[in-house]
Symmetry: C2
Subunit: 557 residues, 2 copies
């Protein structure tokens, strides 16, 4: 790791770190990025660093972070705003091993734009349900499906369910409703992601009467009832309102949870007070009626947004039900939940934890640049918590990725002069950490409509044993195998040192004393003789010893 301009880059990195501590105001920009080498991110050759980060062997714990809708564009939008174009997000950007993965779903039924039936063919733009089913079960399915196959009924075992069978503790946390697709894919199996509550139920969520029942999932239990049945040690997020639905036994699903021994904290203070989470008293944290409150105030894109002065994001002061609450109110942040979950789950046998930053997606759907940036920041802080734990626990695999990409694009307002160069998209101008303008465009739906997911491959990043599987091109379904293999230790590539006491030993030939050399030579001769006489297991064992001594011998001669 030696390049001539390393010191210059250290200055820049330092500036970046300082930048993280301040609000994203238009602070003075680090002047050296216009110098040769000044914008480098690597501090010299990183070959040795990458080699060192490729870890073999079993993982005791796995933390899977999902930024819902967090494509590369969403990461860059947030980085530019929060820490500047040359900065580094403390959590998301800190994972050393990276690659791209594909996220497509499968068609269930015909597409009128083609001839013939499209069932089973790729549906190039996935939703969170099919996507989550991909990594939670290793199985591609149709949009809307929660951990069931193309038939809508075949339940595929999820990573969390499997981890429970292995004696690991399990957790599943989100900033969405806990019944939402991404958390649900680990905990339930339904034909349609909308099947939150028992059939026929209308409940009040975010102050409005709403209905998301099992009408579309005939014969299947609702997602929230299955959450109780699956009984992860820790489930946390929003969605409390939906638990008022009444189950077959005449009690609300929430009452059933409490009857079944679940602890149900509903504020950050109550969550903090929880001291254990296990099968006798699992935690079902419900911190909002519907989705949790987002960090930044809404800044909807407009047709002429690109021509307006650049502005900074503001802390959100409106709760999802429309009441006035300055974020976070009584909510924990995703980092708070992550930290608590890790504390509750960490145990001798290990744990599997899924963490979702859910509203990057929801704010992108709403063409809300500040909204999605605030939620990316929220996830970033949670990833940092996970990485801090993993760095001090060498047996923890951390994966950070997304379920699908989304609409937001960074375009150049400077180039827009009118006429044909006016974007079709809705736009918004942000005043970034660099003190200049970042224009974000949304064009996959009319303004006021729901902007679409997009089908591009996106970033997956990893740290710890098994993380090398993030490198290169993979598919979402590979994550299922990567995590299962890492936790089980089954099917893993053998580490170069597996089985014997192997270390990298530096032996400088010139100083090897004659009697050390002679001792090794003698042992090699003895072993060779013994091998000729030995049989079976003993012979194999002696051969392994001989190989070891010959390796030492080659260094000495």
């Amino acid at each position: 790791m030696a390049r001539t301009n390393a010191s210059m880059r250290r200055v820049r990195l330092l500036a970046g770190v300082t930048g993280l501590a301040v609000a994203s105001t238009g602070v003075a920009y680090a002047a050296d990025i216009s110098e040769t080498g000044g914008a480098n991110r690597h501090d010299g050759d990183q070959t040795a660093e990458i080699a060192a980060q490729v870890k073999f062997g079993k993982a005791k714990n796995v933390i899977l972070f999902i930024g819902d809708g967090m494509g590369d564009s969403e990461i860059t939008v947030a980085r530019n705003y929060l820490v500047g174009a040359s900065g580094q997000l403390e959590g998301i950007d800190s994972l050393p091993l990276t690659g791209q993965y594909t996220t497509y779903a499968l068609h269930k039924g015909d597409d009128p734009l083609t001839t013939g039936d499209d069932t089973g063919k790729p549906d190039y733009v996935t939703d969170s349900a099919a996507s989550g089913t991909g990594w939670s079960t290793g199985t591609k399915t149709y949009n809307g499906a929660i951990s069931v196959g193309l038939d809508g009924t075949t339940a595929h075992q999820t990573l969390l369910e499997w981890a429970k069978t292995q004696g690991l503790k399990t957790g599943d946390i989100t900033t969405a409703e806990v019944q939402d697709a991404t958390p649900a894919v680990q905990l339930s199996h339904v034909a349609d992601r909308g099947c939150y509550t028992p059939v026929g139920q209308t409940v009040t969520v975010d102050g409005k009467s709403q209905k998301k029942d099992t009408a579309k999932c005939p014969g299947q239990k609702s997602i929230e009832e299955q959450i109780l049945d699956t009984r992860a040690d820790v489930v946390m997020g929003g969605g409390k309102g939906w638990f008022d639905a009444v189950a077959a036994n005449g009690r609300s699903v929430l009452q059933n949870a409490q009857d079944a021994g679940f602890q149900v904290p509903t504020t950050k203070a109550e969550m903090t007070a929880v001291t254990k989470a296990d099968q006798s008293a699992p935690v079902l944290g419900l911190f909002a009626s519907g989705n949790m409150q987002t960090r930044y105030k809404a800044t909807p894109a407009t047709a002429d947004g690109y021509a307006k002065p650049a502005a900074e994001c503001q802390t959100n002061d409106t709760a999802p039900d429309g009441t006035s609450v300055t974020w976070p109110g009584t909510q924990p942040t995703l980092a708070d939940m992550t930290s608590k979950a890790i504390g509750l789950l960490d145990n001798d046998k290990g744990f599997f934890l899924q963490v979702e930053g859910a509203s990057i997606d929801k704010q992108d759907h709403a063409a809300n640049a500040c909204g999605q940036i605030g939620e990316t920041k929220d996830l970033d802080e949670a990833v940092k918590v996970g990485m801090d734990f993993a760095k001090t626990h060498g047996d923890t695999l951390v994966i950070v990725t997304a379920d699908h990409a989304h609409t937001s694009q960074i375009i150049n307002a400077e180039d827009i002069t009118g006429g044909s160069s006016v974007p079709l998209a809705g736009t918004y101008n942000l005043l970034t950490h660099d003190g200049t303008v970042e224009t974000v465009a949304y064009g996959t739906a009319q303004l006021g409509g729901s902007q679409q997911h997009t089908g591009t491959q996106l970033r997956i990043a990893g740290f710890g044993p098994g993380a090398a599987n993030a490198v290169g091109l993979s598919d979402q379904t590979d994550v299922f195998d990567t995590i299962k293999d890492a936790l089980s230790g089954v099917g893993l590539d053998p580490a170069p040192s597996a089985g014997t006491t192997t270390k990298t030993v530096t032996v400088t030939k010139e100083v090897a004393p004659a009697r050390l050399t002679s001792a090794v030579d003698s042992k090699v001769r003895t072993l060779a003789k013994q091998i000729r006489k030995a049989k079976g297991d003993r012979k194999a064992k002696l051969k392994a010893q001989l190989r070891a001594y010959r390796a030492v011998q080659r260094q000495l001669h």
Copy 2:
């Protein structure tokens, strides 16, 4: 590399390979991607494979492939169409080590949407000129600048220029005009990318009178004159028309090239006939008046494209000047040029070659889905040529990346039902290799206008010595150092075996003979005594020896 469903995946991979050989018609879809594990791309744990791909040491040759405008979305659009969502592009997807990099440029001057001067602050959406300057010189600059700093005059040495000083052979090939920004950044230094010809010149290009002179680059030689001065061994692409401009000596720039000993093939047949390229007779291949002809016919996006039946791409039968020519006409493909260039450049001292697939960008600007797909295919085939060479020449570093991302997005036509869900973007429906519909959207400019570059981080991938520097998050400017360090061998991380005799030694504790242990113990004691008496360099050397023996000692006790 062992997972239970490996055989299933081999079937799928085989299907993918077969798929490459056929036209992208709606072929029957490989049924097993709906099964658990059926869509996996990894055939088991790839930790050992990634470890093996992290190569230390110097590279003799470097081939840098640039897909102009080829963001992750453009790669995915092409993959889905050409080989299906579960397929693998033979060239682009074959590089083992991957990451993301940032591409921002710098402002030169004020942005009216902010207060204060923005000079030197990030310009979040780069053009090909600033972007290419980033990797060719390691220096961030303003949009439009060709290998000069923010002042527009300071020339920064390019990778190609540096490689020449090291005695390497050099090449620079493109499907654009050779004067275009991406090839130009290796060969010239001008304040504005439009400075193709000597000042005041109007020439006929693609049948039209056009002017791109040095009016915006006062005191600087034109790009095409500098191409002659820099005298790479091989330069190939389009842009022949511009060489009709007349230089100060009264002769056309093309005549000056010929006078200076350049060989100037203008057809594939003439290119094939070239047998050598060196400083006495460099090659300036000019295969088109302006840009080279694209592979696929234009399919401009329309406001209601998402509602039209899905269609296949057709071979292009219109040359850039509007005449009727079925692609490739007399042109070489990018793969043809790459193959020829490698053959001409390969020599004992090594070479540096830049290869650009230029018109992915140009077709994306034109909201032409088939156009950009055909050009991605063209680049993919060229990358395969480079990889085939590199795989049989272990000392070759191959990098594949892009200069910036672009507008095209994959959206879900199925979800569009009217009203607010109608996309703002222009759209086009493709009938893919999977036999189903892929909807591509373009929304960063009005239809008929020029769609914009976008500012997202994008994929960089590598193979060979130094390729590990592609892993993780980097910046475009890091590529400059990665390539320069790899070719020079300066500043590289030492390979684990470099310097001292260091090897991974397996020593099984139980069998260590007492006299080996005793010899090491004795040496440790002796060294400890010597260190107490020693000073300076000798002391340091003895300490290093002690550390080595202590490592052995720890294994024996």
